[in-house]
Subunit: 446 residues, 2 copies
Amino acid sequence: MTVTRQLVNYLLDSRLDAIPADVQREAKRALVNVVGCALGGADHPAMDMTIRALGPYAGPPTSAVLGRRERFDPLLASLLNGISSHVHDYDDTLPKNYIHASSPVASALFAYASVNPVSGPDFLHAFILGFEVVSRIGNATYPAHYDAGWHSTGSVGVFGAAVAVGRLLGLDAERMTYAIGLAATQAAGIREMFGSMGKGFHPGRSAQSGYMAALLAEQGFTSGRFPLEGPRGFAAVTAASYDLDRITDGLGRDFDLLVNTYKPFPCGIVIHPTIDACSQLHHQHGITADQVAAVELRVAPLVKDLCDKKVISVGLEGKFSIYHAAAIGLGRGKAGLAEFTDEAVNDPALKRLRLMTEAVGDAGVSEDAVVVSVRLQDGRTVGMHLEESLGNLKRPLSDAQLEAKFRDQAKVLAPAGVDAAIAGCWGIAEMADVSTLIAACVPDDR
Amino acid sequence: MTVTRQLVNYLLDSRLDAIPADVQREAKRALVNVVGCALGGADHPAMDMTIRALGPYAGPPTSAVLGRRERFDPLLASLLNGISSHVHDYDDTLPKNYIHASSPVASALFAYASVNPVSGPDFLHAFILGFEVVSRIGNATYPAHYDAGWHSTGSVGVFGAAVAVGRLLGLDAERMTYAIGLAATQAAGIREMFGSMGKGFHPGRSAQSGYMAALLAEQGFTSGRFPLEGPRGFAAVTAASYDLDRITDGLGRDFDLLVNTYKPFPCGIVIHPTIDACSQLHHQHGITADQVAAVELRVAPLVKDLCDKKVISVGLEGKFSIYHAAAIGLGRGKAGLAEFTDEAVNDPALKRLRLMTEAVGDAGVSEDAVVVSVRLQDGRTVGMHLEESLGNLKRPLSDAQLEAKFRDQAKVLAPAGVDAAIAGCWGIAEMADVSTLIAACVPDDR
């Protein structure tokens, strides 16, 4: 039986009560995180631009958008939910494949559930299935797919949106195959967009494309029958090497939600160790920006590859600059949304720190780690070898930290709405209709 | 100066009166061809499915769809125009890179011009620019991009739609760069879809995605600055080797419209020589299906690679079966739309001919050629070495043949509409507003 067919059969046969309790619990944590991120990004300029560009062509305004007052058709709402939840680079990360899997899946599901009655358990189930499909296809094609330059959150995320919506639509095996096929043939998103709004666009467009794939498949719109494994299928076309068994091995038994992580800082995951270590040095030694004479970082080679941007002028670029990471850690001792604005990136003190920082790729340093050495103006040198960055699997954010992160981002909601939204995520398995949660995520108009 | 920047400068500076007359003339031939194809595909089941799936989410119905009575928002209309004009595999082909460039460009432009005032000369100019951008990016990444499994009509076509709409929107250099960037990061479409509706979906989705890219760029939605040439840009990510100079060399001087071709048969271009040769044998020798004992084809290796489908049951599969090509040529002596229906593919006489046909890839046979050998039941063997297939650059369809092809497909229009539509394509450079042509392409409701 083909990999696609095995996957389709699993998607049709899966039952929520067969999914372990710890997986369901982690799915709720992922929802708390991604909904918070969507609220935090809801008023980003990229959202307003998208609404100005595409709003005039939107269909009947039936779907809510998380964190916004306007309503649009659910396809545009999917795009918007995806942009908002990823634009600050604050959403979750799978360390196995660097995919931010919740955004494309949840973005489509919230739009779908905004225009169709969906029970909490059905929503949770579809979310888990979509998340696992994304991660498994990601695992099967990692690292070749990512190394080629694909932003897997977009290029793989589309499958999760398609199967999650497809499951709620009740697609049969043939049509679920088409949904996967029409997702495969819309798979897109390149890493050259990093540091621009194009990155946040990826999970949004994937949510929208996956949703569309499921709708077309429902009507019988056909695709190739071997979209994942065929000689011109997704894996062969986009990855120089791959292992499709990783899509099907342990399906229904092993869940990657259990190895999902949540970011403490709104930027690329690979600069987290540097922020964490430099912030610790800032606080331990009372370092201020003007005391620093030189900074040397030893980082994993991938970090240098991804984040070697020193001369930057735009906040989004700061999210992928290892030099900016060192600068805000040492100079400010923290990394909130305010440290990744255009203003912060152009702060002369931070700019000076960036320019005096050197980064060396070192295969002996893991992607969770960093070795920092700071020479001060007074001749002293201080340093740190950080092995495990805050937010990684060994130092995960607690439920309370996730809630605090949510509250910090949910400025578009009134306090009562924040409480209701958080409670709705935790209580989704007992919710009769997810519209209750969605309503809590819409700002009060008064 | 980067390749993207050189291209952007050209797109902003180009003037229609600097484009040679023969190029403008060929652009009109391309329009006659693609509009005819859109009319021919307008009532295909894939169109009805798409409308059922996505119509409920469409925006205000301001845009016409070629060959349909319904109106939708222009983004959905772009998708529909693209599906209809490619679903029969009857549109144009660039032999240099196998791209069907008119469909993604014209599909977006007709939707745009349906909701915005666009003069004929501006439309023609934008079409030429979009077409050339598609072909040049196609040339730069061919054959590696295509060989990897990309259906370039989709994956490269998106650039043409983005820059053509972007030109009509009057984007400045920065925003035209974003339009190209947002096109690059939506580039998609894999060859595993061949033989399904997914193939026709590609130029449609590219038209829609390119249109969207231009709209977002207009509002300032940012992309990476090096979408074509960056280390994680379109070329590096999707082609193992490429030559970006082919995008810019001779820009404004050399036009690939002059090497565009139009299909006489509604199927993959690479099976045209076999249809042509087998049809000639049918007529010359009065061959009927039941007289044939065995068929041997020697074809270019690519043909065997693309079209090695012998056991088929769906009309769309027949468009990519070298065996079906031989069968309809020998058995029917023609290849119209009727030879690629499900009924034709399941015709027992044609099925028998397919099964007795063998195809051998031979590097000594060009992609325009075929060597056919037919053994008859009476012991005779007849054969032909066809060097140049009808419709290729050495045997192009005449204007009259293009018009006949248009009329054969335009069954959805009343005769007066057909005349007006053909006249509109030829006379576009003198048209005050393209809405005149679009109105002629909408079926009379009476």
